[in-house]
Protein backbone atom coordinates (compact mmCIF):
# COMPACT_ATOMS: atom_id res chain seq x y z
CA UNK A 1 0.00 0.00 0.00
CA UNK A 2 1.23 3.46 -0.86
CA UNK A 3 0.91 6.27 1.63
CA UNK A 4 -2.17 8.36 1.01
CA UNK A 5 -1.88 10.65 -1.96
CA UNK A 6 -4.22 13.31 -3.23
CA UNK A 7 -5.13 12.10 -6.69
CA UNK A 8 -7.58 12.95 -9.35
CA UNK A 9 -10.00 10.13 -10.07
CA UNK A 10 -9.04 9.87 -13.71
CA UNK A 11 -5.35 9.67 -12.86
CA UNK A 12 -5.89 7.25 -10.01
CA UNK A 13 -7.78 4.95 -12.37
CA UNK A 14 -4.91 5.08 -14.84
CA UNK A 15 -2.27 4.36 -12.22
CA UNK A 16 -4.31 1.61 -10.60
CA UNK A 17 -4.81 -0.01 -13.99
CA UNK A 18 -1.09 0.02 -14.63
CA UNK A 19 -0.44 -1.44 -11.20
CA UNK A 20 -3.01 -4.11 -12.05
CA UNK A 21 -0.87 -5.12 -15.00
CA UNK A 22 -2.52 -3.13 -17.77
CA UNK A 23 0.08 -2.37 -20.42
CA UNK A 24 -2.02 -1.39 -23.40
CA UNK A 25 -4.29 1.59 -23.67
CA UNK A 26 -6.15 2.74 -26.76
CA UNK A 27 -8.38 5.75 -26.47
CA UNK A 28 -9.64 9.01 -27.87
CA UNK A 29 -9.91 12.28 -25.97
CA UNK A 30 -13.22 13.34 -24.51
CA UNK A 31 -14.15 15.46 -21.55
CA UNK A 32 -14.45 14.67 -18.62
CA UNK A 33 -11.95 11.80 -18.76
CA UNK A 34 -8.99 13.34 -20.56
CA UNK A 35 -6.62 13.10 -17.62
CA UNK A 36 -6.88 9.34 -17.84
CA UNK A 37 -5.41 8.90 -21.35
CA UNK A 38 -3.02 11.77 -20.70
CA UNK A 39 -1.70 9.96 -17.66
CA UNK A 40 -1.41 6.79 -19.68
CA UNK A 41 0.48 8.65 -22.41
CA UNK A 42 3.07 9.75 -19.85
CA UNK A 43 3.29 6.65 -17.76
CA UNK A 44 2.82 3.60 -19.97
CA UNK A 45 6.03 4.08 -21.97
CA UNK A 46 7.90 4.20 -18.64
CA UNK A 47 6.71 0.70 -17.76
CA UNK A 48 7.20 -0.79 -21.21
CA UNK A 49 3.58 -0.42 -22.17
CA UNK A 50 1.85 1.12 -25.14
CA UNK A 51 -0.32 4.20 -25.24
CA UNK A 52 -1.96 4.85 -28.58
CA UNK A 53 -4.36 7.62 -29.38
CA UNK A 54 -6.79 6.10 -31.83
CA UNK A 55 -8.42 8.11 -34.59
CA UNK A 56 -11.83 7.60 -32.99
CA UNK A 57 -13.65 5.62 -30.35
CA UNK A 58 -14.74 3.17 -33.04
CA UNK A 59 -11.13 2.53 -33.84
CA UNK A 60 -10.08 2.50 -30.18
CA UNK A 61 -12.48 -0.29 -29.24
CA UNK A 62 -11.33 -2.33 -32.21
CA UNK A 63 -7.70 -1.84 -31.22
CA UNK A 64 -8.74 -3.13 -27.82
CA UNK A 65 -10.26 -6.13 -29.57
CA UNK A 66 -7.04 -6.85 -31.43
CA UNK A 67 -4.86 -6.37 -28.37
CA UNK A 68 -7.12 -8.44 -26.14
CA UNK A 69 -7.20 -11.18 -28.74
CA UNK A 70 -3.42 -11.09 -28.84
CA UNK A 71 -3.30 -11.71 -25.11
CA UNK A 72 -2.60 -8.18 -23.86
CA UNK A 73 -4.06 -6.78 -20.66
CA UNK A 74 -5.82 -3.87 -22.23
CA UNK A 75 -8.15 -1.04 -21.43
CA UNK A 76 -9.89 1.94 -22.93
CA UNK A 77 -11.80 4.82 -21.46
CA UNK A 78 -14.22 7.35 -22.75
CA UNK A 79 -17.36 9.22 -21.86
CA UNK A 80 -20.95 8.79 -22.96
CA UNK A 81 -20.98 9.75 -26.67
CA UNK A 82 -17.71 7.94 -27.18
CA UNK A 83 -19.04 4.85 -25.45
CA UNK A 84 -22.07 4.91 -27.75
CA UNK A 85 -19.72 4.77 -30.71
CA UNK A 86 -18.12 1.68 -29.22
CA UNK A 87 -21.32 -0.35 -29.03
CA UNK A 88 -20.68 -2.48 -32.08
CA UNK A 89 -17.16 -3.17 -30.92
CA UNK A 90 -18.29 -3.99 -27.39
CA UNK A 91 -20.77 -6.49 -28.76
CA UNK A 92 -17.94 -8.05 -30.78
CA UNK A 93 -15.72 -8.25 -27.69
CA UNK A 94 -18.46 -10.03 -25.77
CA UNK A 95 -19.26 -12.26 -28.73
CA UNK A 96 -15.62 -13.23 -29.22
CA UNK A 97 -15.19 -13.60 -25.45
CA UNK A 98 -12.34 -11.20 -25.06
CA UNK A 99 -11.28 -9.82 -21.69
CA UNK A 100 -10.71 -6.08 -21.30
CA UNK A 101 -11.66 -3.19 -19.08
CA UNK A 102 -13.79 -0.32 -20.34
CA UNK A 103 -14.14 2.88 -18.36
CA UNK A 104 -17.10 5.19 -18.89
CA UNK A 105 -16.83 8.51 -17.08
CA UNK A 106 -20.45 9.37 -17.70
CA UNK A 107 -21.58 12.87 -18.67
CA UNK A 108 -24.99 14.33 -19.36
CA UNK A 109 -26.89 13.30 -22.48
CA UNK A 110 -28.56 12.64 -24.79
CA UNK A 111 -26.61 13.74 -27.85
CA UNK A 112 -23.77 16.11 -27.22
CA UNK A 113 -25.56 16.92 -23.96
CA UNK A 114 -23.10 18.38 -21.49
CA UNK A 115 -19.83 17.63 -19.78
CA UNK A 116 -20.96 17.39 -16.19
CA UNK A 117 -21.57 14.29 -14.16
CA UNK A 118 -24.54 12.08 -14.90
CA UNK A 119 -25.68 8.49 -14.48
CA UNK A 120 -27.80 8.25 -17.57
CA UNK A 121 -25.83 5.46 -19.23
CA UNK A 122 -27.02 2.81 -16.80
CA UNK A 123 -29.25 1.06 -19.32
CA UNK A 124 -26.54 1.09 -21.95
CA UNK A 125 -24.01 -0.37 -19.55
CA UNK A 126 -26.15 -2.98 -17.86
CA UNK A 127 -28.62 -4.15 -20.51
CA UNK A 128 -26.28 -4.02 -23.45
CA UNK A 129 -26.27 -0.97 -25.69
CA UNK A 130 -25.01 -3.08 -28.53
CA UNK A 131 -26.86 -5.78 -30.42
CA UNK A 132 -27.35 -9.34 -29.33
CA UNK A 133 -27.64 -11.14 -26.03
CA UNK A 134 -24.58 -10.15 -24.08
CA UNK A 135 -23.73 -8.44 -20.85
CA UNK A 136 -20.90 -6.48 -19.45
CA UNK A 137 -19.86 -7.03 -15.89
CA UNK A 138 -20.47 -3.50 -14.60
CA UNK A 139 -18.81 -2.12 -11.48
CA UNK A 140 -19.77 1.25 -10.03
CA UNK A 141 -17.34 2.59 -7.47
CA UNK A 142 -18.42 5.32 -5.08
CA UNK A 143 -15.09 6.99 -4.40
CA UNK A 144 -11.67 7.40 -5.91
CA UNK A 145 -10.33 4.88 -3.40
CA UNK A 146 -12.93 2.31 -4.31
CA UNK A 147 -12.21 2.87 -7.97
CA UNK A 148 -8.61 2.04 -7.36
CA UNK A 149 -9.52 -0.98 -5.27
CA UNK A 150 -11.87 -2.35 -7.92
CA UNK A 151 -9.44 -2.13 -10.80
CA UNK A 152 -7.31 -5.15 -10.02
CA UNK A 153 -10.51 -7.09 -9.62
CA UNK A 154 -11.92 -5.70 -12.85
CA UNK A 155 -9.00 -7.02 -14.87
CA UNK A 156 -9.05 -10.36 -13.09
CA UNK A 157 -12.78 -10.76 -13.59
CA UNK A 158 -12.39 -9.92 -17.26
CA UNK A 159 -9.87 -12.75 -17.55
CA UNK A 160 -11.88 -15.12 -15.39
CA UNK A 161 -14.98 -14.79 -17.54
CA UNK A 162 -13.33 -13.78 -20.81
CA UNK A 163 -15.80 -10.93 -20.95
CA UNK A 164 -15.41 -7.14 -21.00
CA UNK A 165 -15.78 -5.46 -17.63
CA UNK A 166 -17.05 -1.92 -17.46
CA UNK A 167 -16.17 0.52 -14.76
CA UNK A 168 -19.05 2.97 -14.66
CA UNK A 169 -17.96 6.24 -13.14
CA UNK A 170 -19.08 9.77 -13.71
CA UNK A 171 -17.53 13.18 -14.06
CA UNK A 172 -17.45 13.69 -10.30
CA UNK A 173 -15.36 10.58 -9.76
CA UNK A 174 -13.17 11.39 -12.73
CA UNK A 175 -12.52 15.02 -11.96
CA UNK A 176 -12.31 15.11 -8.18
CA UNK A 177 -9.17 14.71 -6.14
CA UNK A 178 -9.43 12.65 -3.01
CA UNK A 179 -7.04 10.94 -0.69
CA UNK A 180 -6.17 7.57 -2.09
CA UNK A 181 -3.87 4.67 -1.28
CA UNK A 182 -2.55 2.76 -4.24
CA UNK A 183 -1.33 -0.83 -4.02
CA UNK A 184 2.19 0.43 -4.63
CA UNK A 185 4.04 3.71 -4.39
CA UNK A 186 4.67 5.40 -7.71
CA UNK A 187 8.38 4.81 -7.60
CA UNK A 188 8.17 1.16 -6.60
CA UNK A 189 9.09 -1.15 -9.45
CA UNK A 190 6.18 -3.12 -10.91
CA UNK A 191 6.33 -6.86 -11.48
CA UNK A 192 6.17 -7.67 -15.19
CA UNK A 193 2.67 -8.70 -16.25
CA UNK A 194 2.21 -12.27 -17.51
CA UNK A 195 3.21 -12.63 -21.18
CA UNK A 196 0.49 -12.77 -23.86
CA UNK A 197 1.31 -16.43 -24.46
CA UNK A 198 0.02 -17.27 -21.00
CA UNK A 199 -3.45 -16.93 -22.43
CA UNK A 200 -3.57 -20.17 -24.33
CA UNK A 201 -6.48 -19.10 -26.52
CA UNK A 202 -4.83 -15.87 -27.67
CA UNK A 203 -3.50 -15.32 -31.18
CA UNK A 204 0.16 -15.09 -30.35
CA UNK A 205 1.39 -17.23 -33.21
CA UNK A 206 0.68 -20.92 -33.75
CA UNK A 207 3.88 -22.32 -32.32
CA UNK A 208 3.63 -25.95 -31.24
CA UNK A 209 -0.11 -25.85 -31.23
CA UNK A 210 -2.94 -25.69 -33.71
CA UNK A 211 -3.93 -22.22 -34.75
CA UNK A 212 -6.10 -19.99 -32.56
CA UNK A 213 -9.02 -18.01 -33.91
CA UNK A 214 -10.75 -15.03 -32.36
CA UNK A 215 -14.21 -14.80 -33.83
CA UNK A 216 -17.84 -14.01 -33.15
CA UNK A 217 -19.35 -15.27 -36.40
CA UNK A 218 -21.34 -18.50 -36.32
CA UNK A 219 -23.10 -18.76 -39.61
CA UNK A 220 -25.15 -21.83 -38.66
CA UNK A 221 -28.01 -20.85 -36.36
CA UNK A 222 -27.45 -24.02 -34.38
CA UNK A 223 -23.85 -23.10 -33.68
CA UNK A 224 -24.76 -19.52 -32.88
CA UNK A 225 -27.48 -20.62 -30.51
CA UNK A 226 -25.08 -22.92 -28.74
CA UNK A 227 -22.57 -20.12 -28.48
CA UNK A 228 -25.24 -17.85 -27.07
CA UNK A 229 -26.22 -20.31 -24.35
CA UNK A 230 -22.57 -20.82 -23.57
CA UNK A 231 -22.19 -17.10 -23.00
CA UNK A 232 -25.39 -16.97 -20.98
CA UNK A 233 -24.05 -19.69 -18.78
CA UNK A 234 -21.17 -17.35 -17.90
CA UNK A 235 -23.65 -14.66 -16.98
CA UNK A 236 -25.51 -17.06 -14.73
CA UNK A 237 -22.20 -17.76 -13.05
CA UNK A 238 -21.55 -14.06 -12.61
CA UNK A 239 -24.99 -13.68 -11.11
CA UNK A 240 -24.15 -16.40 -8.64
CA UNK A 241 -20.62 -15.33 -7.80
CA UNK A 242 -20.03 -11.68 -8.52
CA UNK A 243 -22.79 -9.72 -6.85
CA UNK A 244 -21.38 -6.82 -4.85
CA UNK A 245 -23.21 -4.24 -2.78
CA UNK A 246 -23.06 -2.29 0.44
CA UNK A 247 -25.97 -2.04 2.85
CA UNK A 248 -25.85 0.61 5.57
CA UNK A 249 -28.40 0.66 8.34
CA UNK A 250 -31.03 -1.03 6.23
CA UNK A 251 -32.09 -3.60 8.83
CA UNK A 252 -34.45 -1.34 10.70
CA UNK A 253 -34.90 1.28 8.00
CA UNK A 254 -38.33 2.55 7.11
CA UNK A 255 -36.92 4.21 4.03
CA UNK A 256 -34.25 2.38 2.11
CA UNK A 257 -32.44 4.70 -0.25
CA UNK A 258 -30.96 2.93 -3.27
CA UNK A 259 -28.16 4.72 -5.07
CA UNK A 260 -24.82 3.91 -6.67
CA UNK A 261 -21.61 5.75 -7.35
CA UNK A 262 -21.53 9.47 -6.69
CA UNK A 263 -25.20 9.60 -5.80
CA UNK A 264 -24.62 7.02 -3.11
CA UNK A 265 -22.09 9.33 -1.40
CA UNK A 266 -24.70 12.01 -1.26
CA UNK A 267 -27.40 9.62 -0.17
CA UNK A 268 -25.08 8.35 2.54
CA UNK A 269 -24.74 11.84 3.99
CA UNK A 270 -28.48 12.33 3.76
CA UNK A 271 -29.14 9.02 5.49
CA UNK A 272 -26.75 9.87 8.30
CA UNK A 273 -28.43 13.22 8.74
CA UNK A 274 -31.85 11.59 8.67
CA UNK A 275 -30.82 9.22 11.46
CA UNK A 276 -29.57 12.21 13.40
CA UNK A 277 -32.99 13.72 12.98
CA UNK A 278 -34.62 10.50 14.12
CA UNK A 279 -35.74 9.32 10.71
CA UNK A 280 -35.02 5.63 10.20
CA UNK A 281 -33.30 5.65 6.83
CA UNK A 282 -30.82 3.23 5.33
CA UNK A 283 -28.67 3.07 2.23
CA UNK A 284 -28.48 0.20 -0.21
CA UNK A 285 -25.63 0.71 -2.62
CA UNK A 286 -25.21 -1.69 -5.55
CA UNK A 287 -21.55 -1.94 -6.46
CA UNK A 288 -21.99 -4.47 -9.22
CA UNK A 289 -24.72 -3.07 -11.45
CA UNK A 290 -24.56 -6.20 -13.52
CA UNK A 291 -25.00 -8.62 -11.88
CA UNK A 292 -27.49 -6.52 -9.95
CA UNK A 293 -27.97 -7.45 -6.27
CA UNK A 294 -31.64 -8.33 -6.70
CA UNK A 295 -31.81 -10.80 -3.86
CA UNK A 296 -30.16 -8.65 -1.22
CA UNK A 297 -32.23 -5.64 -2.18
CA UNK A 298 -35.40 -7.72 -2.15
CA UNK A 299 -34.64 -8.74 1.40
CA UNK A 300 -33.84 -5.21 2.48
CA UNK A 301 -37.01 -3.90 0.86
CA UNK A 302 -39.03 -6.67 2.52
CA UNK A 303 -38.42 -5.05 5.89
CA UNK A 304 -38.89 -1.44 4.73
CA UNK A 305 -41.86 0.83 4.42
CA UNK A 306 -40.63 2.33 1.19
CA UNK A 307 -37.70 2.42 -1.18
CA UNK A 308 -36.31 5.65 -2.58
CA UNK A 309 -34.16 5.47 -5.70
CA UNK A 310 -31.85 8.39 -6.30
CA UNK A 311 -30.09 8.74 -9.63
CA UNK A 312 -28.43 11.43 -11.69
CA UNK A 313 -30.75 10.43 -14.50
CA UNK A 314 -34.44 10.33 -15.26
CA UNK A 315 -34.70 6.86 -13.77
CA UNK A 316 -32.81 3.89 -15.17
CA UNK A 317 -31.63 1.72 -12.30
CA UNK A 318 -35.21 2.27 -11.19
CA UNK A 319 -36.29 -0.65 -13.39
CA UNK A 320 -33.89 -3.05 -11.70
CA UNK A 321 -34.94 -1.83 -8.29
CA UNK A 322 -38.59 -2.40 -9.20
CA UNK A 323 -37.73 -5.87 -10.43
CA UNK A 324 -36.06 -6.57 -7.10
CA UNK A 325 -38.64 -4.99 -4.85
CA UNK A 326 -41.75 -6.15 -6.67
CA UNK A 327 -44.74 -5.22 -4.61
CA UNK A 328 -43.03 -5.52 -1.26
CA UNK A 329 -43.26 -1.77 -0.77
CA UNK A 330 -43.63 1.37 -2.88
CA UNK A 331 -40.66 2.48 -4.93
CA UNK A 332 -40.17 6.22 -5.20
CA UNK A 333 -37.73 8.11 -7.33
CA UNK A 334 -35.69 11.27 -7.18
CA UNK A 335 -33.64 12.14 -10.24
CA UNK A 336 -31.38 14.95 -11.40
CA UNK A 337 -30.31 14.42 -15.00
CA UNK A 338 -28.04 16.55 -17.14
CA UNK A 339 -25.13 17.32 -14.88
CA UNK A 340 -26.79 18.60 -11.76
CA UNK A 341 -25.75 16.74 -8.68
CA UNK A 342 -28.42 16.26 -6.04
CA UNK A 343 -27.55 17.73 -2.66
CA UNK A 344 -27.78 15.79 0.60
CA UNK A 345 -30.55 18.20 1.59
CA UNK A 346 -32.60 17.33 -1.50
CA UNK A 347 -32.29 13.65 -0.69
CA UNK A 348 -33.06 14.28 2.94
CA UNK A 349 -36.21 16.13 1.93
CA UNK A 350 -37.35 13.12 -0.06
CA UNK A 351 -36.53 10.80 2.83
CA UNK A 352 -38.68 13.05 4.95
CA UNK A 353 -41.40 12.87 2.33
CA UNK A 354 -41.01 16.40 1.08
CA UNK A 355 -40.41 17.60 -2.48
CA UNK A 356 -41.28 15.89 -5.74
CA UNK A 357 -39.78 13.32 -8.03
CA UNK A 358 -37.45 15.79 -9.62
CA UNK A 359 -36.20 19.23 -8.93
Amino acid sequence: MSEPKLMKGNEAIAEAAIQAGCRYFFGYPITPQNELPEYMARRLPEVGGVYLQAESEVSAINMVYGAAGAGGRVMTSSSSPGISLMQEGISYLAGAELPCVLVNIVRGGPGLGGIHAAQSDYFQATKGGGHGDYRLLVLAPGSVQETVDLLQEAFDLADKYRNPVMLLGDAVLGQMMEAVRLPRDLDEPLPPPPPPESKVWATTGAVNRSRNVINSLYIEPERLEKHNWHIQEKYRRMEAEEVRYEAVQVDDAGTVVVAYGTTARIARTAVDEARRQGLKAGLFRPISLYPFPYQALREAAGRARRVLVVEMSCGQMLDDVRLAVGERCPVEFYGRPGGNIPTPQEVLDRIAGKGGEAK
Binding site: F26, S56, S59, A67, A70
Partner: protein, 249 residues
Amino acid sequence: MTTVVAQRPKSLSDVVMNYCPGCTHGIIHRLVAEAIDALDARERTIGVASVGCSVFAYNYFECDMQQASHGRAPAVATGIKRVLPDRLVFTYQGDGDLASIGAAEIVHAAARGENITVIFVNNANYGMTGGQMAPTTLLGQKTTTTPLGRDPKTDGFPIRMAEMLATLQGPAYIARVSVHSPQAVKQAGDAIKKAFRLQAEGKGFTLIEVLSTCPTNWGLAPNQALKWLVENLIPFYPLGEFKKEEGGA
Protein backbone atom coordinates in the same frame (compact mmCIF):
# COMPACT_ATOMS: atom_id res chain seq x y z
CA MET B 1 13.23 -36.84 -60.95
CA THR B 2 10.37 -34.47 -60.45
CA THR B 3 10.38 -30.97 -59.03
CA VAL B 4 7.38 -29.12 -57.71
CA VAL B 5 6.24 -26.27 -59.90
CA ALA B 6 3.05 -25.47 -58.05
CA GLN B 7 1.35 -26.86 -54.98
CA ARG B 8 -0.88 -25.82 -52.17
CA PRO B 9 1.06 -23.56 -49.79
CA LYS B 10 1.43 -24.70 -46.18
CA SER B 11 -0.16 -21.56 -44.83
CA LEU B 12 -3.37 -22.19 -46.72
CA SER B 13 -5.67 -24.41 -44.69
CA ASP B 14 -6.72 -27.63 -46.33
CA VAL B 15 -10.44 -26.83 -46.48
CA VAL B 16 -12.92 -25.89 -49.18
CA MET B 17 -13.18 -22.13 -49.58
CA ASN B 18 -16.70 -20.85 -49.92
CA TYR B 19 -16.05 -18.51 -52.80
CA CYS B 20 -18.13 -18.70 -55.94
CA PRO B 21 -16.62 -20.68 -58.81
CA GLY B 22 -13.93 -18.64 -60.51
CA CYS B 23 -13.85 -15.88 -57.91
CA THR B 24 -10.29 -14.61 -57.70
CA HIS B 25 -10.44 -14.17 -53.94
CA GLY B 26 -9.13 -17.74 -53.94
CA ILE B 27 -6.07 -16.86 -56.01
CA ILE B 28 -5.26 -13.96 -53.72
CA HIS B 29 -5.54 -16.18 -50.67
CA ARG B 30 -3.04 -18.53 -52.18
CA LEU B 31 -0.62 -15.71 -52.92
CA VAL B 32 -0.80 -14.47 -49.34
CA ALA B 33 -0.18 -17.97 -48.04
CA GLU B 34 2.79 -18.31 -50.39
CA ALA B 35 4.23 -15.04 -49.11
CA ILE B 36 3.98 -16.27 -45.53
CA ASP B 37 5.58 -19.54 -46.51
CA ALA B 38 8.36 -17.72 -48.33
CA LEU B 39 9.33 -16.10 -45.03
CA ASP B 40 8.74 -19.37 -43.21
CA ALA B 41 6.56 -17.29 -40.94
CA ARG B 42 3.36 -19.27 -40.45
CA GLU B 43 4.01 -19.68 -36.75
CA ARG B 44 4.63 -16.01 -36.17
CA THR B 45 1.94 -14.57 -38.37
CA ILE B 46 -1.42 -13.33 -37.20
CA GLY B 47 -4.00 -12.54 -39.83
CA VAL B 48 -7.09 -10.41 -39.57
CA ALA B 49 -10.17 -11.34 -41.56
CA SER B 50 -12.61 -8.58 -42.35
CA VAL B 51 -16.30 -8.57 -43.24
CA GLY B 52 -17.05 -9.33 -46.86
CA CYS B 53 -16.98 -12.49 -48.92
CA SER B 54 -13.62 -13.15 -47.32
CA VAL B 55 -15.10 -13.12 -43.84
CA PHE B 56 -14.26 -16.80 -43.44
CA ALA B 57 -10.61 -16.12 -44.20
CA TYR B 58 -10.05 -17.03 -40.57
CA ASN B 59 -10.72 -20.60 -41.63
CA TYR B 60 -8.53 -20.45 -44.71
CA PHE B 61 -5.17 -19.31 -43.38
CA GLU B 62 -3.26 -21.84 -41.36
CA CYS B 63 -1.97 -19.26 -38.89
CA ASP B 64 -3.54 -17.57 -35.88
CA MET B 65 -6.41 -15.41 -37.03
CA GLN B 66 -8.77 -12.76 -35.75
CA GLN B 67 -12.07 -11.82 -37.33
CA ALA B 68 -12.60 -8.05 -37.26
CA SER B 69 -15.75 -5.98 -37.45
CA HIS B 70 -16.61 -4.43 -40.80
CA GLY B 71 -13.98 -1.91 -41.83
CA ARG B 72 -11.95 -2.04 -38.64
CA ALA B 73 -9.36 -4.66 -39.55
CA PRO B 74 -6.54 -2.07 -39.57
CA ALA B 75 -7.46 -1.06 -36.02
CA VAL B 76 -7.61 -4.69 -34.92
CA ALA B 77 -4.27 -5.35 -36.59
CA THR B 78 -2.84 -2.33 -34.82
CA GLY B 79 -3.99 -3.71 -31.49
CA ILE B 80 -2.32 -7.02 -32.25
CA LYS B 81 0.90 -5.50 -33.55
CA ARG B 82 1.29 -3.24 -30.55
CA VAL B 83 1.09 -6.24 -28.24
CA LEU B 84 3.24 -8.46 -30.44
CA PRO B 85 5.61 -6.17 -32.33
CA ASP B 86 7.83 -9.01 -33.51
CA ARG B 87 5.06 -10.99 -35.19
CA LEU B 88 3.85 -10.46 -38.75
CA VAL B 89 0.36 -9.06 -38.88
CA PHE B 90 -1.77 -8.71 -41.99
CA THR B 91 -5.32 -7.77 -42.84
CA TYR B 92 -7.36 -9.07 -45.74
CA GLN B 93 -10.05 -6.60 -46.72
CA GLY B 94 -12.54 -5.96 -49.50
CA ASP B 95 -13.16 -2.60 -51.12
CA GLY B 96 -16.37 -1.98 -49.24
CA ASP B 97 -14.66 -2.86 -46.03
CA LEU B 98 -11.49 -0.87 -46.59
CA ALA B 99 -12.56 2.05 -48.73
CA SER B 100 -16.05 2.69 -47.46
CA ILE B 101 -16.88 1.96 -43.83
CA GLY B 102 -13.23 1.52 -42.96
CA ALA B 103 -11.88 4.61 -44.69
CA ALA B 104 -10.81 6.31 -41.46
CA GLU B 105 -9.11 3.20 -40.12
CA ILE B 106 -7.05 2.60 -43.24
CA VAL B 107 -6.05 6.25 -43.63
CA HIS B 108 -4.87 6.36 -40.05
CA ALA B 109 -3.11 3.02 -40.01
CA ALA B 110 -1.28 4.22 -43.12
CA ALA B 111 -0.54 7.64 -41.64
CA ARG B 112 0.81 6.03 -38.50
CA GLY B 113 3.09 3.91 -40.62
CA GLU B 114 1.72 0.99 -38.64
CA ASN B 115 4.01 -1.91 -39.36
CA ILE B 116 1.39 -4.21 -40.86
CA THR B 117 0.55 -5.52 -44.32
CA VAL B 118 -2.84 -4.84 -45.84
CA ILE B 119 -4.20 -6.98 -48.65
CA PHE B 120 -6.89 -4.90 -50.28
CA VAL B 121 -9.15 -6.81 -52.66
CA ASN B 122 -10.86 -4.42 -55.03
CA ASN B 123 -13.69 -6.07 -56.95
CA ALA B 124 -15.61 -2.85 -57.54
CA ASN B 125 -18.64 -3.91 -55.57
CA TYR B 126 -19.95 -5.39 -52.34
CA GLY B 127 -19.80 -9.07 -53.15
CA MET B 128 -21.00 -10.51 -49.88
CA THR B 129 -24.20 -8.53 -49.58
CA GLY B 130 -25.28 -9.12 -53.14
CA GLY B 131 -23.56 -6.63 -55.37
CA GLN B 132 -24.22 -3.12 -54.16
CA MET B 133 -22.18 -0.11 -55.21
CA ALA B 134 -18.78 0.19 -53.57
CA PRO B 135 -16.63 3.32 -53.38
CA THR B 136 -14.59 1.68 -56.13
CA THR B 137 -17.52 1.02 -58.47
CA LEU B 138 -16.80 2.60 -61.86
CA LEU B 139 -18.89 5.39 -63.30
CA GLY B 140 -21.70 3.88 -65.28
CA GLN B 141 -21.29 0.47 -63.65
CA LYS B 142 -24.58 -1.15 -62.76
CA THR B 143 -25.02 -2.55 -59.28
CA THR B 144 -28.08 -3.33 -57.22
CA THR B 145 -27.97 0.16 -55.71
CA THR B 146 -27.03 1.92 -58.94
CA PRO B 147 -29.53 0.17 -61.17
CA LEU B 148 -29.04 2.68 -63.99
CA GLY B 149 -25.27 2.76 -63.58
CA ARG B 150 -23.23 4.82 -61.17
CA ASP B 151 -23.94 8.51 -61.74
CA PRO B 152 -21.39 10.91 -60.25
CA LYS B 153 -24.07 13.53 -59.68
CA THR B 154 -25.88 11.41 -57.13
CA ASP B 155 -23.49 8.58 -56.31
CA GLY B 156 -20.14 10.33 -56.42
CA PHE B 157 -16.87 9.32 -58.02
CA PRO B 158 -14.85 6.15 -57.48
CA ILE B 159 -11.85 6.40 -55.17
CA ARG B 160 -8.35 5.30 -56.08
CA MET B 161 -7.22 4.21 -52.66
CA ALA B 162 -3.63 3.33 -53.53
CA GLU B 163 -3.01 6.77 -55.00
CA MET B 164 -4.74 8.52 -52.13
CA LEU B 165 -2.87 6.67 -49.42
CA ALA B 166 0.41 7.17 -51.26
CA THR B 167 0.22 10.88 -50.40
CA LEU B 168 0.86 9.97 -46.76
CA GLN B 169 4.24 9.73 -45.10
CA GLY B 170 3.60 6.56 -43.14
CA PRO B 171 3.45 3.92 -45.87
CA ALA B 172 6.62 2.12 -46.83
CA TYR B 173 5.14 0.37 -49.83
CA ILE B 174 1.90 0.69 -51.77
CA ALA B 175 1.25 -1.13 -55.03
CA ARG B 176 -1.67 -2.09 -57.21
CA VAL B 177 -1.65 -5.48 -58.90
CA SER B 178 -4.11 -7.72 -60.67
CA VAL B 179 -4.74 -11.44 -61.08
CA HIS B 180 -6.22 -11.61 -64.55
CA SER B 181 -3.49 -13.79 -66.09
CA PRO B 182 -0.70 -16.10 -64.98
CA GLN B 183 1.77 -13.27 -65.55
CA ALA B 184 -0.30 -10.84 -63.52
CA VAL B 185 -0.65 -13.41 -60.76
CA LYS B 186 3.11 -13.79 -60.67
CA GLN B 187 3.59 -10.05 -60.32
CA ALA B 188 0.88 -9.85 -57.70
CA GLY B 189 2.59 -12.59 -55.73
CA ASP B 190 5.90 -10.75 -55.91
CA ALA B 191 4.33 -7.54 -54.64
CA ILE B 192 2.67 -9.33 -51.74
CA LYS B 193 5.92 -11.05 -50.85
CA LYS B 194 7.71 -7.72 -50.94
CA ALA B 195 5.16 -6.19 -48.62
CA PHE B 196 5.55 -8.97 -46.07
CA ARG B 197 9.30 -8.75 -46.33
CA LEU B 198 9.28 -5.03 -45.69
CA GLN B 199 7.08 -5.58 -42.68
CA ALA B 200 9.47 -8.20 -41.37
CA GLU B 201 12.22 -5.59 -41.77
CA GLY B 202 10.20 -3.09 -39.74
CA LYS B 203 9.83 -0.68 -42.62
CA GLY B 204 6.28 0.37 -41.82
CA PHE B 205 2.89 0.22 -43.43
CA THR B 206 2.49 -1.79 -46.62
CA LEU B 207 -0.61 -2.17 -48.76
CA ILE B 208 -1.23 -4.19 -51.88
CA GLU B 209 -4.39 -3.37 -53.77
CA VAL B 210 -5.41 -6.39 -55.83
CA LEU B 211 -7.92 -5.99 -58.64
CA SER B 212 -10.23 -8.95 -58.36
CA THR B 213 -13.34 -10.34 -60.01
CA CYS B 214 -16.82 -10.95 -58.76
CA PRO B 215 -18.30 -13.16 -61.47
CA THR B 216 -21.51 -13.68 -59.50
CA ASN B 217 -22.49 -10.08 -58.99
CA TRP B 218 -20.96 -8.83 -62.21
CA GLY B 219 -23.18 -11.43 -63.88
CA LEU B 220 -20.32 -12.79 -65.96
CA ALA B 221 -18.68 -16.17 -66.41
CA PRO B 222 -15.33 -16.38 -64.61
CA ASN B 223 -13.26 -15.90 -67.77
CA GLN B 224 -15.50 -13.09 -68.97
CA ALA B 225 -15.07 -11.46 -65.59
CA LEU B 226 -11.28 -11.47 -66.02
CA LYS B 227 -11.75 -9.85 -69.38
CA TRP B 228 -14.02 -7.19 -67.93
CA LEU B 229 -11.43 -6.50 -65.27
CA VAL B 230 -8.73 -5.95 -67.88
CA GLU B 231 -10.90 -3.78 -70.07
CA ASN B 232 -12.60 -1.70 -67.41
CA LEU B 233 -10.89 -1.80 -64.06
CA ILE B 234 -7.26 -1.55 -65.12
CA PRO B 235 -7.74 1.57 -67.24
CA PHE B 236 -9.19 3.38 -64.25
CA TYR B 237 -7.04 1.66 -61.64
CA PRO B 238 -3.59 1.57 -63.19
CA LEU B 239 -1.24 -1.13 -61.95
CA GLY B 240 2.02 -0.11 -60.43
CA GLU B 241 3.96 0.87 -57.35
CA PHE B 242 2.75 4.11 -55.80
CA LYS B 243 4.95 4.31 -52.77
CA LYS B 244 8.29 2.69 -52.16
CA GLU B 245 10.32 2.26 -49.02
CA GLU B 246 10.42 5.70 -47.55
CA GLY B 247 8.65 6.93 -44.40
CA GLY B 248 7.82 4.52 -41.66
CA ALA B 249 11.44 3.72 -41.01
